[in-house]
């Protein structure tokens, strides 16, 4: 992990194989825990995609965001359970309309 600090926050760059993560935290945040946060996020991706790799994230970037939004809101962790974050995404996926439903449903 490399880090550099600026006056108000620090940047951390944990690396997972060919994936580089960049994370900005504040003074009072626990740096070592941040590494755990990033690790947990990777685990969530892995659980959702199954053996996640770079291409999964590229071609499903919106899903990566959705998963992130189930894990962190406003910079703070919202759930520490691996299971519930992924479950929420999968349930939401179910809510998404199929192509037919989508075409037939009125927009407004």
């Amino acid at each position: 992990v490399c880090s550099c600090s600026l006056s108000c926050f620090c940047l951390y760059f944990p690396r997972y194989a060919s994936l580089y993560f960049c994370c900005a935290i504040e003074d009072q945040d626990n740096e070592l825990l941040t590494l755990e946060v990033v690790h947990r996020y990777v685990e969530l991706l892995d659980r959702y995609f199954g053996n996640v790799c770079e291409l999964d994230i590229i071609f499903n970037f919106e899903k990566a965001y959705f998963i992130l939004d189930e894990f962190i809101i406003g910079g703070e962790v919202q759930d520490t359970s691996k299971r519930s974050a992924v479950k929420a995404i999968e349930d939401s996926d179910m809510l998404q309309e199929t192509v037919e439903e989508y075409m037939n449903k009125p927009a407004f």
Partner: protein, 819 residues
């Protein structure tokens, strides 16, 4: 119009681009298509188009024209649309665009939606990018959701509330009731976000903090939860490498820190659990260390008992030995924060810290360096300096300046001996000479001047240092100054501390001239060199002509500073040659400006203008009373126009003839502060005996006893100056042969009008009995007309409980003392 291409299709296409230009072209084409699609208000493909736009936005291309479309998606009934719409809003919109306010109503509706996942989307968006206006409008909804029993929503509402409070702190109060039961939840998500919310509230408002401490009894609750976490068995859902929900543990520890800060009761209540966490947490993985780290931070910040604090510092010490450099980094940062308050405990880990200086990582090296300087003290200074000097040698350039400054500071404070101090400075100058800060040069010069007995050694070492390499400016500046000052010691081979080297005057001038000529020398350095050469004209004997030549060459230098110096020095050779020796005399010891710790400082009796010899010869602009002018004044001579009027020496002749009336007034001329009431400790215009101006002691002028009565004996001994035959220096010694001390002894003297007199401070005011000690005092007499020396003295002192006083004339001055 054909259907817009799918998102994944676009991604695939863009990735085939081989150049930046190709990619740009594809993107532009697609953007155009998307724009026309938006214009057609196509509901079916809006979602797909916005998704593509978001991808292109991620690549760095402008996507602002999609902002309104996001709003339309949010307003849509289809979940797919909402999902992308809210994502788009978070990525493309923020409070700087007025458009975002249009979202408020949609979000409000969605917060009350029947599907929790829609509500979740709304809460998430508000919690990530809600502006203060939005927060104000929607805080009520958030508060409602905070009280719901649905834990999925409750946890999101809590974090949303955190965001609201950050944006609009005044709204904090309204969330207070909802926090009452938050910690009773079993759901870890709710627990975690609740702790975050409570932390935010306590950090922002001291009232809230007090409220939670006292009324809600938050500390016991948190301690209980933490204990359960540690004690409870394995829980697969929240487990990380064998530790149960480390995220929650860390947040609880952080909240405990805030609650325990400056509060004895709270701190006491958490002592046990902190000790438990500190000792029981597994340290083999990063996650355990993360918890330990937070624990240490908490222990150090609250009012913990000393045993706990030592435990904390020891944990940090163990961190320093960890292979993982993140952990070492974190440990060094924390130790730096605590070194002031828990100095001794940190000292125990000094050797580990010093080892970190050799680490490969730059951030760790820097922290280790700062911490090392904080740990230097009188006991370990030698060892620490060795390590730090080695570090200075091998570290990256960005450290060298700070390291050099740190070494100078530490050396000044804790130097065990002058020689060590000089050696250390030399080492820094030669190792990192070009990185030394500009202000270090005058400080070093001052230091060197003060170490009187080391002058020969210093100048020799400096000379050797620049002989090989004169590119490092600070080193060359200090060396030039020293050579200029102590060049005579250098050629006379007087060094005691090490083997003296054989140097001729020409060789010395060679090196100084090289500095002058060299392209590497800065203008300032050249100035130093030129002045040094000039000074040597009074210290060297055979090379004065050479010096004159060099100086005159620079009279036409392009560099204005050099030119001015050279011209003035030339003038010194020509018109003011008689002043030259005195002007270029050895610098007196300078008074230290900063004193920190046990350095040996030679105090002068008065400050001398250090600028005297470095700047141009004195003009009439100098203030009266400056020491330099007193110097000039003493030099006398009729061909100098009196530059500064000293205190007027005219006194009405008393009835007693030429000798003045001693009873009321004493004519103590030569000092600018001549009050009618005689002052004994005059501000001397010349520094005292530590730097003798008169380098030679006149051989064979007999001393006299000027006074001997009632057990009080005063002897006069004389010195004449080679350089100024009109000056006589009289040293008086007063001794007491009675059986009781004489206290409050004051010696005063008066001379005829044609003389000038200066009295320096006496060594003390008590003459001990039985001749066991003396008072010495120095009188300087200027006798330009070479008249016979006569003096009237007045003595006052206390003896045997009564005040004594006597007047006497001294007439027995030996002719050698004034002829």
């Amino acid at each position: 119009m054909p259907a817009p291409i799918r998102l994944r299709e676009l991604i695939r296409t863009i990735r085939t681009a081989r150049t930046q230009a190709e990619e740009r072209e594809m993107i532009q084409k697609e953007c155009a298509a998307i724009r026309s699609s938006f214009r057609e208000e196509d509901n079916t493909y809006r979602c797909r188009n916005v998704a593509k736009l978001l991808y292109m936005h991620m690549l760095g291309y402008p996507a602002h024209f999609g902002q309104l479309e996001c709003l339309k998606l949010i307003a849509s009934q289809k979940f797919t649309d909402k999902r992308i719409g809210y994502l788009g809003a978070m990525l493309l919109l923020d409070e700087r665009q007025d458009v975002h306010l249009l979202m408020t109503n949609c979000i409000k509706n969605d917060l009350n939606h029947s599907t929790q996942y829609v509500q979740g989307l709304a809460l998430c968006t508000l919690g990530c990018m809600g502006s203060s206006e939005m927060c104000r409008d929607l805080a009520g909804e958030v508060e409602k959701l905070l009280k719901t029993s649905n834990s999925y929503l409750r946890k999101k509402a809590a974090l949303c509330a955190v965001h609201v409070i950050r944006k609009v702190p005044e709204l904090m109060e309204m969330f207070l009731p909802a926090t009452k039961n938050l910690l009773n939840e079993k759901n870890h998500g709710v627990l975690h976000t609740s702790v975050v919310l409570l932390t935010e509230m306590c950090e922002r408002s001291p009232d809230m903090l007090a409220h939670f401490r006292k009324n809600e009894k938050l500390v016991p609750q948190l301690v209980r939860i933490l204990k359960n976490l540690i004690m409870s068995g394995y829980s697969p859902e929240h487990d990380v490498s064998g530790i149960s929900d480390p995220f929650l543990q860390v947040r609880i520890l952080r909240l405990l820190r805030i609650l325990g800060r400056n509060d004895d009761d709270s701190s006491e209540a958490m002592n046990d659990i902190l000790a438990q966490v500190a000792t029981n947490t597994e340290t083999s993985k990063n996650v355990g260390n993360a918890i330990l780290y937070e624990t240490v931070l908490t222990i150090m910040d609250i009012k913990s008992e000393s045993g706990l604090r030592v435990l904390a510092i020891n944990i940090l010490g163990r961190f320093l030995l960890n292979n993982d450099k993140n952990i070492r980094y974190v440990a060094l940062t924390s130790l730096l924060k605590t070194v002031q308050t828990d100095h001794n405990a940190v000292q125990r880990h000094r050797s580990t810290i010093v080892d970190c200086l050799k680490d490969l990582d730059v951030s760790i090296k820097r922290r280790a360096m700062e911490l090392s300087f904080a740990l230097v003290n009188g006991n370990n200074v030698r060892g620490m300096m060795k390590e730090l000097l080695y570090f200075l040698d091998s570290c990256e350039p960005e450290f060298k300046a700070d390291c050099a400054s740190g070494i100078f500071l530490a050396a000044e404070k804790y130097a065990p001996s002058k020689r060590w101090h000089i050696d250390t400075i030399m080492r820094v100058l030669t190792t990192a000479g070009s990185y030394v800060r500009d202000d270090a040069v005058p400080n070093l010069i001052q230091l060197i001047t003060n170490s009187v007995e080391m002058h020969a050694y210093t100048v020799q070492r400096l000379y050797k240092a620049i002989l090989g390499d004169y590119s490092q400016q600070p080193l060359v500046q200090v060396a030039s100054w020293c050579i200029g000052e102590y060049g005579d010691l250098l050629v006379s081979g007087q060094c005691e501390e090490e083997e003296p080297i054989q140097v001729t005057e020409d060789e010395v001038l060679d090196i100084l001239e090289s500095v002058l000529i060299s392209n590497m020398s800065a203008s300032v350095t050249r100035g130093y060199a030129l002045t040094a050469i000039m000074k040597l004209s009074t210290r060297f004997t055979c090379t004065v002509n050479r010096i004159k030549k060099v100086v005159s060459i620079y009279g036409s230098s392009i560099d204005v500073e050099l030119q001015q110096r050279a011209v003035e020095y030339n003038a010194l050779f020509k018109k003011y040659d008689h002043m030259r020796p005195a002007l270029l005399e050895r610098m007196p010891v300078m008074e230290k400006v900063t004193t920190n710790g046990p350095t040996e400082i030679v105090q002068t009796n008065g400050e001398t203008e250090t600028a005297v010899l470095e700047t141009k010869p004195p003009h009439s602009g100098l203030q009266p009373g400056s020491q330099a002018n007193d110097l000039l004044d003493l030099l006398g001579g009729n061909d100098i126009t009196p530059v500064i009027p000293t205190a007027p020496t005219s006194k009405p002749a008393s009835a007693g003839g030429e000798l003045l009336d001693l009873l009321g007034d004493l004519n103590l001329t030569g000092s600018p502060v001549s009050a009618p009431a005689p002052q004994i400790s005059q501000p001397p215009f010349l520094p005292d005996s530590s730097q003798p101006l008169f380098n030679d002691i006149a051989a064979g002028i007999p001393s006299i006893t000027a006074y001997n009565k009632n057990g009080l004996k005063i002897d006069f001994s004389f010195e004449r100056s080679n350089t100024n035959p009109s000056v006589t220096v009289i040293t008086i010694q007063a001794s007491n042969s009675t059986e009781l001390d004489m206290t409050d002894f004051v010696f005063q003297a008066a001379v005829p009008k044609t003389f000038q007199l200066q009295l320096l401070s006496p060594s003390s005011s008590v003459i001990p009995a039985f001749n066991s000690g003396t008072i010495t005092q120095v009188i300087k007499v200027l006798n330009p007309q070479k008249q016979q020396l006569r003096m009237r003295i007045k003595l006052t002192y206390n003896h045997k409980g009564s005040a004594m006083q006597d007047l006497a004339e001294v007439n027995n001055f030996p002719p050698q003392s004034w002829q």
